[in-house]
Assembly symmetry: C2
Homo-oligomer: 248 residues x 2
């Protein structure tokens, strides 16, 4: 009864760079709206990313995205299909970059500290890539982290997507921690990770709450301050939970 989602004419395939260059848009005389010579598709994703991060999936309309990107709403459907597919595209775009950066970081740490790894070192290798990317990656990445934090706390919604893309790297963390603390119980590691990810995502989403709470002494945008404390905080937490070893 509901109109089935018709896949838009797929613009060639999706893989690789064989895309026939959808026309360097604003170069010639297409739309004069957006200045940069970037692909329109990326422009749409950027607009959607920022809006979704601020207002959530349901808080954003296709028309808002279109207005922000300076395109027609039909063009968004042409490229991405339904609204939910647009959201997924936003989510996917940076997920793989994130995952490979984290795996690389943990690989490097493991290799550079043979037989001498510490809990704090492992945790730093797990978190640091995100802090670095957020600091160096520009506004797009900051929006993305806010988006992930939001999805993380709205399980009924993107929970499955979360799991599909981020569980592997979490298992990698747990496996490495088990090398460092072979006697630790899985339960304790998983719960400790749950605590860690809550802290980490809230810090990365830079909600600004700490700014007013601290009367201006702390700033949520100060990721250096996060770096200076979060690793030690989480590592001590892990150690305490492992040491206590409750049979819960």
């Amino acid at each position: 009864m509901t109109s089935q989602v018709r896949a838009p004419r797929a613009p060639s395939t999706s893989k690789g760079a064989a895309k026939p260059a959808p026309g360097v848009k604003s170069a010639g005389r297409g739309r004069p709206s957006k200045g940069a010579g970037r692909d329109l598709k990326e422009t749409i994703l950027d607009a959607a990313e920022g809006l979704f991060a601020r207002h959530g999936f349901h808080g954003v309309t296709i028309r808002q995205v279109a207005a922000e990107a300076g395109v027609d709403t039909a063009l968004i459907h042409y490229y991405f299909g339904a609204k939910r597919e647009l959201f997924d595209a936003v989510f996917l775009r940076r997920a793989e970059i994130l995952n490979s950066a984290r795996v690389l970081s943990m690989d490097a740490y493991e290799k550079s500290h043979p037989g001498a790894m510490t809990v704090e070192g492992v945790i730093e290798a797990f978190i640091e890539p995100l802090l670095r990317i957020s600091q160096d990656g520009g506004q797009g990445w900051k929006s993305y982290f806010a988006l992930v934090a939001q999805v993380n706390n709205t399980p009924a919604w993107g929970g499955e997507t979360m799991a599909r893309f981020f569980d592997p790297v979490v298992h990698r963390l747990v496996d490495t921690l088990k090398i460092v603390r072979p006697d630790a119980q899985d339960r304790d590691l998983y719960w400790s990770y749950q605590f860690l990810t809550g802290s980490m995502m809230l810090a990365l989403s830079e909600t600004g709450r700490i700014d007013s709470l601290s009367g201006g002494e702390c700033h949520s945008s100060d990721l250096g301050a996060v770096r200076a404390r979060l690793f030690a905080y989480c590592a001590a937490g892990f150690e305490a939970v492992i040491a206590r070893a409750p049979r819960g």
Copy 2:
């Protein structure tokens, strides 16, 4: 073609016997949908609370709330006004209960441990009331915690409300911690609290993520497991951050 004269309501059919259960309100035989003879206003708040918690403010329509509560949409506007006011009413209903429970808990701890308070003890006094209420308070409270967690991570939206209602008790926590660790810097305490609240809210929202992540070994509904670890985890984190005392 739009506005034609509204005919006075047609006398309809025979008003004889077929009138279906007029809404007698509070006492006796209200709505058959909700079992208890509670006020309709509370029924509406309950419905709205559950839906807002699952789908967020924009993901819920007045009509959905009305259907869930078994009332007419106009009745919701009659009692609460605009949609946003309904949301605020949901948020407010339990906020004060929460705050007084926490203040009471910290008062009790402070009085019962004169000169012998510990960081972990203070943190337990701060968090434990929430765990207890969530365990004993029924589904309504669980929805409420999920709602708060969501608002906490969507700053552009309810950030101001969050601050107005929950900042005082946080300042109380910080003040008490300064008694226990007089040499601790404010910066460190605020950042540590930020990490704590991220962990705590994620645990309280019971997203179910840990269930699949751990392959069924942990359950997000197992607040006993949280209690057995979270206090120690956070306390160790606080101590580590204080001890490190970075000048960030």
